[in-house]
Symmetry: C2
Subunit: 381 residues, 2 copies
């Protein structure tokens, strides 16, 4: 038995080498001391890249001026380029290297976000801001069911989070948060860049949020699923887009198809007081449209950095329907900030109790994670 | 209403630009004609990369000599480097660019596989080999539940595929295939590189395979989840690894914890004739170990390019237990080919009916997808 296992162990090593050979990803690192990147020290962070034949290497980070300025890296021993920078404030940032003008990911960092077609390395700076962004001890299940949309004429992929304990408490029913992404995003945006599963896991584990189901649909009416699945988008002409019949088709699919699909196939409480809707940017617009078109469906409404508006009449209707929480959030440097101020004013004038949560900064995932971490604690209570 | 929607549309465009600015991924493509890569024509494929300041650019592809040889690309108009190659035979390949010695992904290609810490672009060449590797019309649900392992002392992530119709047929029970990855892999290997969900979707849709649940655990005994989740691995010394008590701990967790977890939380048929086990390389070793230690648990046993062996006594025990299918597969150029020949011989000598499936080529995902596509049609029939 011992002999067999030794053989197995050597074979596994051989298999690893074979894979590496097939993949030819990295021409560096073998034999030499391992390159560590990024390396967080007390108050600094060092980035390193081995690049033997590069003329120049830069680092571009989302915390740098202009959301992605660059700093030069210096060639060191063994052609490892590096730069040591002051550690930015606690948060999740993205970065990449620029080698002779070409964007390159950090081969030492497996933590990668996808935003649309872009894969970017993450820098997670520990601290107060990120305390709910890492893995909790008790984790929910993330799944990707598909629903048939008659309204949109396509089969469509969802991301669904069920909280820890969902499987082991087969009689318990849960409230549901519908969480919508922005332009350029898809059904994986909130779990990738938004850390939605981690935030909910942590809040629920700490007793700060009610256990809930979170449904993250694909908000692009012509798309079946994220581009990574390579399913051609449904062809829509500009006329199709502008056709009033199509205009709110995604929001209608959400409220008339996705909500019933979830309430049938998951143990969801099918009542307005157990339904919340939230979304960022374009998804904030969808949130507002849904609350305008279906004022009695959701008792918790959270437009975040929203691209959308509501008339006094629509707000009056919503007030009459009995909303339990209206959480309006925007960054004070967001290009949509004025729109949020206008909506706050309309809500105030119509006497709809609401929270107007204004944060520092702009139209960023840093803010959207912060908003989710904030309003999720106020839902279904 | 129209006005609001126009505003929303412009805001969405603005939001997209803002994201692009924050991410600074690509310094190219804006304003210029779009770069298309890879572009498959009738019998050729062209790769392109815009790289203004590069000294040289190469292409490295898994179909090239030595599983990843390189060819030079030529600088063309507007600093777009390109190379046109004969289209390789139908299959899924991986590739990357090499810019001044540094591996770079293709920014125009969102189709990316992850193998361990490596992200690599896919080239999918349509044809007979890949006919079940794309998206079917009816798709199952892929989910990631977590199970508590007492044997390994950690909470661990699974990938579970439930077939199309699972949600809409709440009384139907399904057989289960346990599908194990190799060294360097994790619970996402079979769905990423192995196209397991697509293969099952297609086979089931065509009536070629029984609807089944597929469970893809993490086979690294010290790991809670794929490295992308950034959960530190459990520290194990070489002594820990070599301790006989730990030696088969993952296989014990699989058979004593994962199988019961699945049969409790999913609508699985809890009988040997409705359980199959298959695995590649190290996972083939796990498959053989599981069939040795738990000969009565699985009626379908499929070691693929397996790093493992079985004694005549173990095979005799298995025969006595009444195995319905023993599917042994290996590539004729695999460095483990001799081991598979030895196991074939032992199976023959012990009179255990089996299929010895020998394919062209070596220790590759091309073969493992082919094997899954082949043996999945023979399960539970």
């Amino acid at each position: 038995m011992k002999k067999i296992l030794t053989i197995v162990a050597s074979l596994c090593l051989a298999a690893g080498a074979m894979n590496a050979q097939e993949l030819t990803n990295f021409s560096f690192g073998r034999g030499a001391a391992p390159v560590i990147s990024p390396e967080i020290q007390a108050d600094s962070v060092t980035f390193r890249l081995k690049a033997d034949y590069a003329t120049y290497v830069k680092l571009s980070g989302s915390w740098m001026p202009g959301f992605g300025g660059t700093v030069d890296m210096k060639r060191g021993e063994n052609n490892v380029w590096s730069v040591k920078l002051p550690l930015p404030a606690s948060d999740i940032y993205t970065y990449n290297f620029v080698v002779d003008g070409v964007a390159v990911n950090d081969p030492q960092n497996i933590q990668v976000q996808r935003d649309g077609t872009r894969f970017l390395n993450m820098l997670i700076v520990p601290g107060k801001m990120t305390e709910n962004y890492g893995e909790a001890n008790h984790r929910g299940t993330v799944s990707h069911p598909w629903y048939d949309s008659k309204i949109l004429g396509i089969n469509r992929r969802l991301t669904v989070y069920t909280p820890y304990g969902y499987e082991t408490n087969p009689k318990k029913k849960y409230p549901v948060l519908y969480l919508l992404h922005g332009a350029g995003g898809d059904e994986e945006a909130w779990t990738s860049m938004g850390r939605a599963a981690q935030i909910l896991d942590n809040l629920i584990e700490k007793g700060l949020a009610e256990p809930m189901i979170v449904v993250m649909p694909n908000g692009n009416a012509n798309q079946q699923a994220a581009g990574t699945l390579n399913i051609p988008a449904k062809q829509m002409s500009m006329q199709d887009y502008q056709n009033p019949a199509n205009r709110d088709s995604y929001v209608r699919s959400l409220c008339e198809e996705i909500v019933p699909f979830i309430e049938k196939n998951f143990r969801a409480i099918a009542k307005p007081e157990s339904r919340a809707i939230a979304g960022l940017s374009m998804g904030g617009g969808h949130t507002i449209t849904a609350s305008n078109l279906y004022p009695e469906m959701f008792d918790y409404i959270c437009p975040l950095s929203a691209a959308g508006s509501a008339t006094p009449e629509q707000v009056a209707t919503l007030k009459k329907a009995g909303v339990k929480l209206y959480f309006l959030a925007c960054g004070n440097a967001d290009f949509l900030f004025q729109g949020s101020q206008a909506l706050d004013k309309t809500l105030t004038e119509q006497g709809l109790d609401h929270i107007y949560f204004v944060s520092e900064g702009g139209h960023t995932w840093s803010n959207w994670r912060l908003y989710l971490n904030t309003f999720a604690q106020k839902l279904f209570k």
